[in-house]
Symmetry: D2
Subunit: 258 residues, 4 copies
C-alpha cells in the first residue's frame, strides 16, 4: 500500500521563506489577555509576577534558540530579534512562528506555578505571533524604540487611570479626566493628587524588559591559596533600561554586529 497516489497533495504546500540577510523579529502577543488578567486577578496597572513569568519564558527562548540575540518585552507582548544571518529552518515563516510560539506557550504554562504558587491556571493561555523582516540595524532599532515608546505611553496612562479608579473614580470618570492630557499633565496629576513621582516607579514598569547574552565573570573554582578564580562566560540576563538612545547600543555593539 504505497502512498504515491495521494502524495500529489504535497504540491499545495507553498514556500514562505523570508528574505535572507534581514533582521527577523518575532513578536508574540497574549491573546485576549485583558480577560486572562482578570480571570487570574492580576494586579493593576502592572502585575510584577506576571511580568517576571514573561521574562523567564523569554530567557528560556534565548536558551533554546541560539539565533535569538535580543528580546524586548512589555506587558503581555514580547519581541525576539533573530540575527541577520540566521538560517533557522531556512527562514520559513510558518516553521519559525509556530515553533517559537509553541515553545513559549508550553514554557509559560510549565512555569506558571513558580510565579503564582497560590493561583491555579484557569485555562490554557494562548499567544499569537508573527515574524517581520527589517533590512538594516537602524530600522531594527527604530522598531525596538517604537515598542519602548509604546510601553511608556501605555504605562503612564495606565498608572494614572488605576490610581484614579483606586481612589474611587469610576472607570468612565477616570477616562474623561485623562482625555487630551499630555505626558507632562499626567506626571503632574500623579504628583499633585497622589504624591507619586512617576520617574521613581520601578523600571520594569516604565522601561519594559530586555533579554540579552552578556559576558560576565564567574567564579569557577578556588585556587589552592583559596582565592576565587574567575572566568568570562556568556550569560543570559534581564535588564530594564533605555533602548531608544545610543548608549545601550554603544555598550552592547556586539548584539547588532554580524
Amino acid at each position: 500500500m504505497a502512498n504515491s497516489k495521494y502524495e500529489y497533495v504535497k504540491s499545495f504546500e507553498l514556500k514562505d521563506n523570508l528574505l535572507p540577510q534581514t533582521w527577523m523579529v518575532l513578536r508574540i502577543d497574549g491573546c485576549h489577555f485583558h480577560k486572562f488578567s482578570q480571570a487570574h486577578d492580576f494586579e493593576k496597572p502592572n502585575d510584577e509576577c506576571a511580568l517576571r513569568l514573561m521574562n523567564e519564558c523569554a530567557v528560556d527562548m534565548l536558551m533554546e534558540f541560539p539565533d535569538m540575540v535580543f528580546a524586548y518585552g512589555v506587558s503581555d507582548e514580547y519581541s525576539f530579534v533573530l540575527k541577520r544571518t540566521s538560517t533557522f529552518y531556512q527562514r520559513r515563516a510558518s516553521k519559525i512562528v509556530s515553533l517559537t510560539v509553541s515553545f513559549f506557550s508550553s514554557t509559560y504554562v510549565m512555569k506558571w506555578s513558580k510565579f503564582f504558587p497560590h493561583k491555579e491556571l484557569q485555562y490554557p493561555p494562548s499567544f499569537d505571533g508573527r515574524v517581520v523582516c527589517y533590512p538594516s540595524s537602524s530600522i531594527l532599532r527604530d522598531y525596538l524604540a517604537w515598542r519602548q515608546v509604546d510601553c511608556h505611553i501605555n504605562n503612564q496612562y495606565n498608572t494614572c487611570f488605576w490610581m484614579l479608579v483606586k481612589s474611587g473614580k469610576s472607570p468612565k470618570d477616570a477616562q474623561n479626566r485623562l482625555k487630551g492630557t499630555q505626558t507632562q499633565d499626567k506626571n503632574e496629576l500623579l504628583f499633585q493628587e497622589f504624591g507619586i513621582n512617576y520617574n521613581t516607579l520601578p523600571e520594569i514598569f516604565r522601561k519594559g524588559s530586555c533579554v540579552l547574552r552578556k559576558e560576565v565573570e564567574e567564579i569557577v573554582k578556588h585556587s589552592e591559596a583559596g582565592d576565587p578564580v574567575r572566568r568570562p562566560r556568556k550569560k543570559i540576563v534581564v535588564q530594564h533600561c533605555d533602548i531608544i538612545g545610543n548608549k545601550f547600543w554603544d555598550e552592547h555593539s556586539y548584539l547588532l554586529s554580524d
Copy 2:
C-alpha cells in the same frame, strides 16, 4: 511623546492572507518527539496515554475554534480542517498558525498530568505548524487519505519492528529483517512469529483518530411519568475509522458541505 516618529516600521509587516473559499488545513507536528517520547518513556510502538492526550487537545481545539470542522491525528501529528468559508482572522496565515499551535501547546501541558499522573513533564514540548489551502473537497479528502495511509504504513512497520526488538533482535537486525517487505509480508511475519493478527489490533493504532461534531441524542430531563426526555445536541466525538473510502463521508456529508 507621540509614537509617530517610529510608526513607519509597521509598513514592514507584509500581508499573508490565504486564498478565500478554500479548505484550510492546519497540520501540527511534535518537534523532536522521538527524543520527547524517550525522555518520557512512552510505550512502543504506540503509547495509548500519549495518543489520548493528543486527542483530548484536539477536542479542545474544536471547542475553542468553531471554524474547525474536522481533525485527524496520528502519532504526534494532528491535522485540523477549517471550513472553506472561514474568515477566521481574515485568513491571515501567521495569526491562524500561531494562535492555534499556541493553544494546542498550552493545553497539552495543562492536561499532561491527567493522562500521565505518575510521570512529570521533563521539559516544555513544542509543536510546529503550517496552514495549507486545498481548493476542493475532493482534494481535501485526498489529503486526509494521504495521512491515513501514512498512519497505516508507519504503524504496520513499527508494530513489526518493536515486536522483533522486544523478542531480542537488535534494532539493526530488525530493520534488515523488514527491508523490502510488503504489507502482506508484514502481516505474515506478525502472525507466524508472534501470533498477532494485525487487523485485530486496536483501531486507534491502525486508523488514527478523527475528531468531529456529531448530533447525538441526550437525556435532558425526565417526564413526570419518569420517562427520559431526549434532545438532539451537537457533541464533539473521537472516532477511529476509515476515512479513505466513501462510507464515512457519505454518513457525515454535513462536514464537507457549506
Copy 3:
C-alpha cells in the same frame, strides 16, 4: 573565473508559485490609456479599431499560450483564464505575468498599423497585469460576470456622457446631468433626447468580447465529384454575447470542464 563567490545572491529570489488546481486569471490593463486614447484620437465612447486590435492580440495570446482557455475583454482591459490544471511555468506568478504581458504588448505594437494604417503610434503603450486564483468554476464565472456587468455600467454611462458632450454640453454639465441616474433613466435619456435605442447598439460595445476555441467544420478539400469535404477543427473565435447567464456556459461546457 568561477562565479561561485557571488552566486549566493540567488538565494534572495523567493518562490511565488500559485496554488495548484485553481483557475488562474491574468488581467491586463492599459496603463494611462485615457491619455493614450487622446494622443491617438480614439473615437468616443468606443473606438472600434482599438477594440479590434485588443481582440486580435487576445486571439494571438490563445494561439501562443495553449493553457489559456477563455478570454474576456472590454475597453483597454482583458482577462485571460488559464485552465485549472495548468502547470505553466510551475504556476510561478512573476513568470506568468511578465511573459504574457510582454507578449501582449509586443503584439499590440506589431499589429497597430494593421488596425490604424493612417495613424502612427506616438509612444510605446504599456499594460499592467496580475494573476488571481479562483478555487471553483462558479467563482470564476462570478469573476467574469463582474467584468461584464462593469462593461455594461461603464458603456451605458459613457454612451450617455459622450452623446451629451457631442450635442454641446460641457463635460461638467454632462456629468451633473447623469449624477444619480439609474439604468432605466439612462436608457430613457438616450431614447428621448437622441433617439437611440441602447439595446440596438453594437454588441461589441455593450457585451465586450469573448475569445475561445470552438469546434468548427471547415472545408479541407473537394471530392473528385467537386463536393466540399468538411472536417471538424478547433478554431479561435471572437464573440460578443452574454456570459452572466447559464446559456453560454451550457453551450460551451467544455471550457470549464477539466
Copy 4:
C-alpha cells in the same frame, strides 16, 4: 444594475508588496531568444545592433521610470535597480514587473527598425521578468558583480566557440575542444589559433552595458560675445566598464546613496 453582487471576487486578489527599504532589482530576460536570434540572423557571438537596441530600451526605461537608478545589461538580459526608498506602485511585485516588462517590450518593437532598418521583425518578441529584493548596497553590488562575471564567462566561451565554428569545426567538435578549459586556456586558444587578443575586443562585448544618470555640462546657449554657456544637467548615459571593483562605485557614489 449595481455590481455589488459580484464584487466579492475582488477578495481573491492577494497582496504582493515587497519589503520596504530594500533595493529592488527587476531582471528582464529574452524568452526563447536562441530561436529569436536565429530567426533574425543575429551575428555570432555578439550582434552589436541587437545589443544597442537593448541598450536604447534600457535608456528609455530610466527615462520613463525615475526610480530606476542604474541598469546593467548583457546579451538578451537586463537588470534594473530601483532605489531603496522607492515606493513605486507601493512596491507591489505584479504591478512593477508587468508594467516595466510591458514598456520594455513595446519599446523594443517600436525601436526595432531603427537598429535593423533592413530586417523585418518576424514575430513578437517576449521577455520574462522578476523583481528581487536585496537588503544592502553591498549585496546589491554582489548581485551586479554576479551578472558581470557571468557576462565574462559566457562571452569568452562564445567567442572561442564561434571562432572554432567559423574556422570549420562542427559545433560538437568546438564544444569538445573547449571542455574543461580555464580562462587562461581560452585566451591562449584565441591568440594562438586566431591571433586574437581577447582583452582588445570591444568592451560592450566583454563588460556588458551600464546605464545611469550622470551630471554632464551642456552648452545651453551662447553669450552675446559668442562664448558657449554651459550648465550642469543630468543625462542618461551608457557605459561599458568594470562594476566588480570599487573604482566605478567610488566615482559614482551617488548611485547607491539615498
